[in-house]
């Protein structure tokens, strides 16, 4: 289950990005995603959407609770 606060933050980012940087794209593996496609995948909780959502959560954790450099 996805946290609605994270979904809302991603949507707010998308709104800003559409105005300021509409040509933005994100490449994950072999897929290139536009702003709308990012939102669509996260909203519909597709496999890729879950992966993107996981990346957001992982980043939040990594930045707030940095771990020791792995070996």
């Amino acid at each position: 289950m996805q946290d609605p606060r994270i979904k809302r933050s991603v949507k707010e980012w998308a709104d800003r990005e559409r105005k300021n940087n509409p040509s933005f794209s994100l490449v994950v593996g072999d897929k290139a995603l536009t702003i709308d496609q990012i939102i669509e995948h996260i909203e519909e909780e597709t496999e890729l959407g879950k992966q993107l959502y996981g990346m957001v959560v992982d980043t939040a954790v990594a930045l707030l609770l940095p771990r020791q450099k792995p070996h």
Partner: protein, 271 residues
């Protein structure tokens, strides 16, 4: 000598970028590699190149999965578990998704000296291409300028962290930060300084018994070890019930198996 492999085909965005990053890497290294680019990036040409040249380092840029390095056109694999043994004694530097999860570990256990790669999908923002390219290429550049694989890993990890912090302070795009954190945290190097962990109880026992060579003991070797223990028990039984031609045959077989295992053990120690 370096073997550089970089497929590229139309209709796939990621390979256009990674191919260019690979060209920049080769220019930076100033080496004279054997190259398998685009249409030449096939399994048969890879295996032929390893036979024809004394390759010590293999570079691969483009797509990967947990079990293979994807060949030209996106169909089939250049390297998978069926030919990973050909990487024995070589250092492998990959810039592709996922292959370090399974194939990289397997190749290391089959005798590859090192495997540099990623355990999750590699992601990037094309608008910030230069940042990703610099960090993706950094490991091999550090390694080739005299550092160990672990030193190269530590420098690359720190460079990722510094870049992430700088972009945060500058209020950069959050997806640039997200992808950089993701790429940094799924970057691994499997080498003797950092062998992959195992969840196999038999390999865990082998590591306990033999130390580092235990990481490289193959399944056939483990089976032979078990067979040998059974033969030993049987031979003791024969011995305790008196010598016979049958008992001597079994003891000779046991000796041969032990000799074979000893040679395998020595080979594992060398790599």
């Amino acid at each position: 000598m370096v073997l550089n492999i970089a497929p590229r085909w139309d209709g796939d965005v990621a390979v256009q970028y990674s191919f260019n990053w690979n060209r920049v890497l080769i220019e930076t290294l100033q080496c004279d590699p054997v190259e398998l680019l685009e249409e030449d990036a096939t399994r048969s040409k890879f295996e032929a190149a390893l036979k024809e040249h004394a390759i010590d380092t293999v570079i691969f840029y483009d797509h990967g999965s947990e079990t293979g390095l994807v060949a030209q056109g996106g169909t089939g694999y250049i390297v998978d578990k069926n030919n990973a043994d050909k990487l024995k004694g070589k250092e492998v530097f990959t810039m592709c998704c996922l292959a370090a999860v399974d194939l990289g570990k397997y190749a290391y256990r089959q005798g590859a000296k090192a495997w540099w790669g990623y355990t999750k999908p590699f992601s990037f923002i094309p608008q910030d291409e230069q940042i990703y390219m610099k960090l993706a290429n950094m490991g091999l550049i550090e390694r080739r300028t005299g550092g160990s694989w672990m030193k190269a890993y530590e420098k690359t990890y720190d460079a990722y962290t510094d870049t992430i912090e700088r972009i945060r302070e500058e209020g950069g795009n959050p997806w640039t930060i997200i992808t950089l954190v993701n790429n940094r945290d799924c970057l691994v190097v499997w080498c003797n300084e950092n062998p992959p962990e195992t969840d196999c109880p038999f390999r865990y026992a082998a590591i306990g018994l033999f130390g580092l060579p235990g990481h490289k003991i193959s399944r056939s070797y483990a089976v032979a070890l078990s067979m040998n223990v059974l033969l030993l028990i049987y031979a003791l039984y024969i011995h305790s019930s008196g010598w016979s031609p049958r008992g001597v045959t079994i003891l000779l077989t046991l000796g041969g198996t032990q000799w074979w295992m000893f040679r395998k053990y020595l080979e594992a120690l060398k790599t």
